[in-house]
């Protein structure tokens, strides 16, 4: 309501300003016209008086009153002239003319008169004086007419402009409405957005009675987007939004927080069994498969909950708690629910603390380092290294990568961590070079989070250039390679790096969503088979067959095969027999600090 009122007021003000401008313009024009008309009337009167003076001069000379009176009577033709008087040279009256009283209206008295006095000359000498009095009424009528026409023209012009700009105004209004809408709503699902939900939460926090906030995250949504068109993904989100809307009780609110994350604010709050029952109903409805283009799409959802005001005192905290609970639910499995608990809060706090410490570590520069795990060929010669990030926390000591890498990815610090890794590699390379050691290719992990945004991609490429890390020194392993969403675009990071000559390896092949089609599209140089398939394969015919076929596929596509997690001599023998090109694992060598690398290289030669 309020913006509409403001709009109306604005429009009224614009109109008033426009009208004032028009009136001022008309007034200025009229003023000019008044001066002009006034001047013209006096001139006309003067001319008329001159003509009459000429005509009556002989009559004055010959003292013919009758003729003079007749000449003056001709002034009747001009309705404005009220009175004319002819005086002799000495000022005594000679004759005069007055418009009949009936013809001079009251208006004439009102508007006043204009008068002129001209000498009457004969033979170059002044023989008398003629005075004329004329009503100003015609002048005012002239002026009124002018003003009328001017105003009418201006109004017509303004009206026309108004009418012509109507479409534009409608468009502007529509855009304004749209902007206001987008500030608070998600256009795809027509649900309130995160900002709006924040406001709803704050309002709920001010009320007595509390509320329950649920955050719902679709499982495997990336997979749906990857396997189908984006239109399908959009349709899924719309369907979920619609289902959530239908599940709302009076007072409940639904919002879309981000890509596949929704929020539901339960007002009044639900606790204990009632909440569990309600969530079970939500999960039951939301996970019904969705039909789309002849496919039945399975839907799964994880839900995290937080209770207000017990778990959170402001909107941000509420969202954070519910989000942490939801993440916890994800670890429990598909279609699960988790209410926020103090333990989750503690984990969240630890996670936030870890994030803060990692940020500090990146700034400090002396807490991070790289370890190198060698890759061997069938003859047990070192053919390459995989660089692995290590963090030595000033208080907690070594933090395992499985703990800090996820934190880095979720907080966005992975971008800076990636850049720092490149710098560390450069330092180590330089150190080895100083010791006269020329190491083989070093592989560095590259995740999609590091180069999702164009500016991050640009920084990464710039860092490579600055540090002079070329394809001869470095290759990349694409972790969770399927998540590289821009693989089809010409400026994708995958093709950009390949274009620069860097070799790429597909990491952890066989797990996650990596597919054969993907292999063909990316044309990587290496394929790394996950330890899951490798460990103990010599003892299992099935695993053996699986890995063997992977090796065949990779070789058919001219890729080198790297087996990860090789620990048992039997497995090693089997892999070599299959034709596996490179092997890495604890069975050969654990990751070593950079200082130990020259020794490794020396021993393998």
């Amino acid at each position: 309501m309020k913006p509409q009122l403001t709009d109306a007021f604005d429009r009224l003000r614009e109109l008033a300003v426009a009208f004032a401008a028009l009136l001022a313009f008309a007034f200025a024009l009229s003023l000019l016209q008044t001066l002009r008309v006034h001047d013209r009337q006096l001139k006309d009167l003067q001319t008329q008086a001159d003509i009459v003076a000429q005509t009556v001069s002989a009559a004055l000379v010959f003292d013919s009153r009758a003729d003079a009176a007749e000449s003056l009577a001709a002034l009747h033709q001009n309705p404005a002239i009220l009175h004319a008087r002819l005086l002799r040279w000495d000022g005594s009256p000679f004759t005069e003319y007055a418009r009949p009283a009936g013809e001079a209206s009251r208006l004439d008295d009102l508007v006043g008169t204009a008068g002129v006095e001209v000498p009457v000359r004969a033979d170059g000498r002044r023989v008398g004086t003629l005075t004329l009095q004329a009503s100003r009424l015609p002048m005012w009528l002239d002026l009124a007419q002018f003003l009328g026409v001017t105003l009418a023209t201006l109004l017509a012009t303004a009206g026309l402009a108004w009418a012509l700009s109507k479409r534009l105004r409608v468009q502007i209004k529509e855009v304004e409405r749209r902007t206001r809408y987008l500030a608070r709503f998600d256009a795809l699902t027509d649900l309130p957005n995160r900002n709006h939900m924040r406001r709803l939460l704050e309002r709920a926090l001010q009320q007595d009675g509390g509320a329950t906030l649920l955050i719902l995250d679709l499982d495997d949504f990336k997979q749906i987007n990857a396997q189908h068109h984006h239109a399908t993904g959009d349709a899924v989100l719309q369907a979920v939004g619609q289902r959530l809307r239908l599940l709302c009780r009076p007072g409940d609110q639904v919002a879309r927080l981000s890509a596949d994350e929704f929020a539901m604010l339960l007002l009044p709050r639900l606790d204990g069994e009632a909440l569990r029952a309600h969530v079970a109903e939500l999960i039951g409805t939301l996970t019904q498969p969705l039909q789309r283009d002849g496919h039945w799409l399975p839907l799964h959802v994880c839900i995290g909950g937080a209770t207000l005001p017990e778990h959170a005192r402001d909107a941000s905290e509420a969202l954070r708690c519910a989000d942490a609970a939801m993440r916890h639910a994800k670890q429990l499995g598909k279609d699960s629910f988790q209410l926020f608990t103090p333990q989750i809060g503690e984990a969240l706090r630890q996670r936030l603390a870890l994030e803060r410490d990692l940020r500090a570590a990146l700034a400090a520069g002396d807490q991070l380092s790289l370890d190198y795990q060698p890759q061997y060929d069938a003859q047990r010669r070192v053919r390459g290294f995989e660089a692995l990030a290590r963090w030595r926390h000033p208080e907690r000591g070594w933090i395992p990568p499985t703990e800090f890498i996820p934190v880095a990815e979720s907080s966005g610090l992975i971008v800076d961590l990636g850049l720092a890794t490149l710098a560390l590699l450069r330092r180590d390379l330089d150190a080895w070079k100083a010791r006269g050691v020329a190491p083989p290719l070093v592989a560095i992990n590259l995740s999609w989070e590091q180069c999702r945004k164009p500016q991050h991609r640009e920084r990464f490429l710039q860092q490579l250039k600055t540090l002079q890390l070329g394809p001869a020194e470095l290759e990349f392993e694409l972790t969770e390679s399927a998540s590289f969403e821009d693989i089809d675009k010409p400026d994708s990071i995958v093709f950009t790096l390949q274009g620069l000559g860097y070799g790429l390896a597909i990491d952890d092949f066989g797990t996650g969503y990596s597919s054969l089609a993907y292999l063909r599209r990316t044309r990587c140089r290496k394929l790394k088979i996950d330890r899951l398939f490798v460990h103990g394969l010599s003892a299992s015919a099935d695993a053996r067959t699986l890995v063997e076929s992977m090796v065949h596929v990779a070789h058919a596509m001219h890729m080198l095969v790297v087996a990860e997690g090789v620990e048992l001599p039997a497995d090693e023998a089997a892999l070599i027999e299959m034709g596996c090109d490179l092997l890495q694992g604890f069975g050969f060598c654990r990751p070593v600090p950079p200082d130990d690398v020259p020794a490794l290289l020396g021993s393998s030669r």
């Binding site: 000379v61 010959f62 003292d63 013919s64």
Partner: protein, 187 residues
């Protein structure tokens, strides 16, 4: 205009000049109030007529002035002599008596008291304004004829004769004429 109405066939003008008023009407001109005889008034009227008559440009030269010529010794002749020295435009009026009628050369205005057939032939179309005050003189070559009507002095104009002589009589004057004779086609 009680009783003084006279409508001409073509111009249809009437004029009446009150004798006394005449002197008063014309301030800058020497007042002739004392000499209010009809003849003196006639001379005054002649003077005023001259204001509205234009002679050919080469005839209006300041050295020679505007010459009023008289032939006889009548009272009007004498009264006209009194106009000498009065100004008209940039010219000065000079009044003189002609010893013989043929010596009209140099005259601008010639007053004749009666018919002068010989003179009329001699004048032919010379640029001389022939003025008279006898009845029927318009037929005898007079261009302006002064008449007394109801105690007022009125005048008739023979416009064609004046035009033949190259004189221009102002329409302002024609408006006031009692009668304008004008046979020629519309000018």
């Amino acid at each position: 205009m009680a009783g003084g109405q006279w409508v001409s066939k073509r111009a249809g003008r009437r004029v009446a000049i009150a004798a006394l008023a005449l002197a008063l009407a014309f301030g800058p001109v020497p007042v002739l109030a004392q000499r209010s005889s009809p003849d003196a008034l006639k001379a005054e009227v002649v003077y005023r007529l001259m204001m509205f008559v234009a002679w050919p440009a080469e005839r209006e030269t300041p050295e020679r002035g505007l010459q009023i010529c008289t032939l006889g010794d009548g009272s009007v002749d004498n009264a006209l002599q009194g106009l000498s020295g009065r100004p008209i435009r940039q010219l000065t009026v000079v009044a003189r008596r002609l010893p013989r009628p043929e010596q009209f050369a140099g005259c601008h205005l010639l007053y004749v008291a009666g018919p002068q057939p010989a003179l009329r032939a001699a004048l032919a179309d010379a640029p001389v304004l022939l003025v008279s005050d006898a009845a029927g003189m318009l037929d005898q070559g007079a261009m302006i004829n002064l008449q007394v009507e109801d105690g007022r002095i009125v005048f008739d104009v023979e416009l064609d004769a004046a035009r033949r002589a190259g004189l221009v009589i102002s329409t302002k004057l024609l408006r006031l004429a009692r009668f304008v004779r004008h046979q020629a086609a519309t000018p």
